[in-house]
């Protein structure tokens, strides 16, 4: 067992973990931040995507010990300070970018990472960036629309 301390959504947190404790499990079980979902547990689906030191990572494929001292942002950190939905979250609601919602936390975190890197992505760039996020309900079109809308662009899709 080892002690780990990190900043999660702006708040300093610490815990006692095993070497094999995944970051996703630390977030969900120790911190009770259950917005981060574990879909496949094999780094395919992206539902567990969070930001570590500003970078998108799959929290099911990183050990909590490796995030010691890091800045972590999860879906719980994406709302505005007053609790209202953030720009990307609101766009997902407005454009019906979710159905069952299981993949949505990972989709929103991926979208946030993309828009930080590339504030005005093309539709093709959005689709390419979402390569590691799987959605079994929507067929992706509305997710892509939501992300384009969140970037302040028109949402006419070539692929539709």
């Amino acid at each position: 067992m080892a002690e780990v301390t990190m900043t999660v959504n702006g708040k300093s947190v610490s815990g006692t973990i095993e070497g094999r404790t995944l970051l996703a499990d630390f977030l969900r079980t120790d911190l009770r931040l259950t917005g981060t979902h574990i879909g496949c547990d094999t780094s395919q689906c992206g539902a567990c995507l969070v930001h570590v030191n500003g970078m998108a990572v799959k929290s099911c494929t990183m050990f909590a010990a490796e995030a010691d001292g890091a800045e972590v942002v999860t879906i719980e950190g994406m709302a505005n300070a007053d609790g209202s939905l953030g720009v990307i979250q609101q766009a997902f609601q407005d454009h019906h970018g979710l159905q069952c919602g299981f993949c949505t936390p990972g989709m929103v975190m991926s979208a946030a990472a993309l828009l930080k890197e590339n504030p005005k992505p093309t539709e093709a760039e959005v689709r390419e960036y979402l390569e590691g996020n799987i959605c079994r309900c929507t067929g992706y079109h509305n997710i892509v629309k939501a992300i384009l809308a969140a970037s302040g662009q028109d949402v006419v899709l070539a692929a539709e």
Binding site: A2, G19, S43, G46, M55, V57, T61, E66, A113
Partner: protein
């Protein structure tokens, strides 16, 4: 996963000392090792994480025209840092897995694992890279020794990879649509003294050089030079995703595309 401890050394020397134990295993970005541990296919007592070692991070240019990449540098970092100086390598690094995987996976981890379908082995062999470890330098031509097999000794760490920068180069891969690994990937690099062609994903012996294509392309670097050349299906991987014949055919297709796209 079985239980294990994690150590996070800050220097190469500390990591080498920690890896001297029989039950210790190096951990790069973990994008292959963590799934392997989850399946209980490995049971180390201690994982030695290499990602916190600052002397193994980053990308620079050497006086000899090589791109020097620290062993713990992520694919995303290579994609960014090599975009101008070595677009062929940048393109390869920027299409491994997906963005989140590229933010964790490292060049040293990929080469140490030597998955027969991984992309980086094609770049290392296709450029004649030098693999620098904590104790020696290994030429890529000697380094790869078959599927998941390398010249690395127990506890040896890849600290840096030096890729000679070609005049032009390109990497083309045909994706296995579920895993996103290369069903077949071909790296083509043109140097003043000749062309190198390295193939990943196809052979049961792992990454290899297609010397016949190298000779033809060294005479004239254009897709037409490959007309009439083919690779026998013997020794190619056959599975539900593709037969040996299919993979052998794809090698020709991917090589032509890489030559046409080289920049």
């Amino acid at each position: 996963m079985y239980a294990f401890d994690i150590e996070q050394p800050k220097t190469i020397a500390e990591a080498v000392a920690a890896l001297a134990s029989d039950e210790a295993q190096a951990l790069g970005g973990g994008q292959t090792l963590i799934p392997t541990l989850k399946q209980r296919l490995a049971s180390p007592e201690t994982l030695i994480s290499l990602t916190g070692i600052s002397e193994m991070q980053g990308v620079c240019l050497s006086d000899r025209g090589e791109l020097c990449v620290g062993g713990a540098t992520t694919h995303a970092e290579v994609a960014r840092m090599a975009a101008k100086s070595f677009p062929g390598l940048s393109g390869l690094a920027g299409h491994i897995g997906d963005p989140a995987v590229r933010n964790r996976g490292t060049v040293g981890g990929s080469l140490a694992n030597n998955d027969p379908s991984a992309c980086y082995p094609a770049a290392a062999l296709g450029t004649g890279a030098t693999i620098k470890t904590d104790r020696r330098e290994i030429s890529a031509d000697d380094y790869f020794q078959g599927m998941f097999a390398t010249d690395l000794q127990e506890g040896e760490i890849i600290t840096e990879v030096r890729f000679p920068i070609p005049e032009v180069s390109n990497y083309q891969k045909f994706l296995q649509p579920a895993s996103r690994f290369a069903l077949v990937g071909v790296f083509v690099a043109k140097y003043p003294d000749g062309v190198r062609v390295a193939v990943t994903g196809a052979s049961e012996d792992g990454v290899f050089r297609w010397t016949e294509a190298e000779r033809a392309l060294s005479a004239s670097f254009e897709p037409a030079s490959l007309e009439g050349l083919s690779i026998p299906a013997d020794g190619m991987i056959g599975d539900i995703h593709g037969t040996p014949e299919y993979r052998a055919h794809l090698i020709g297709v991917m090589t032509r595309r890489a030559v046409a796209a080289a920049s």
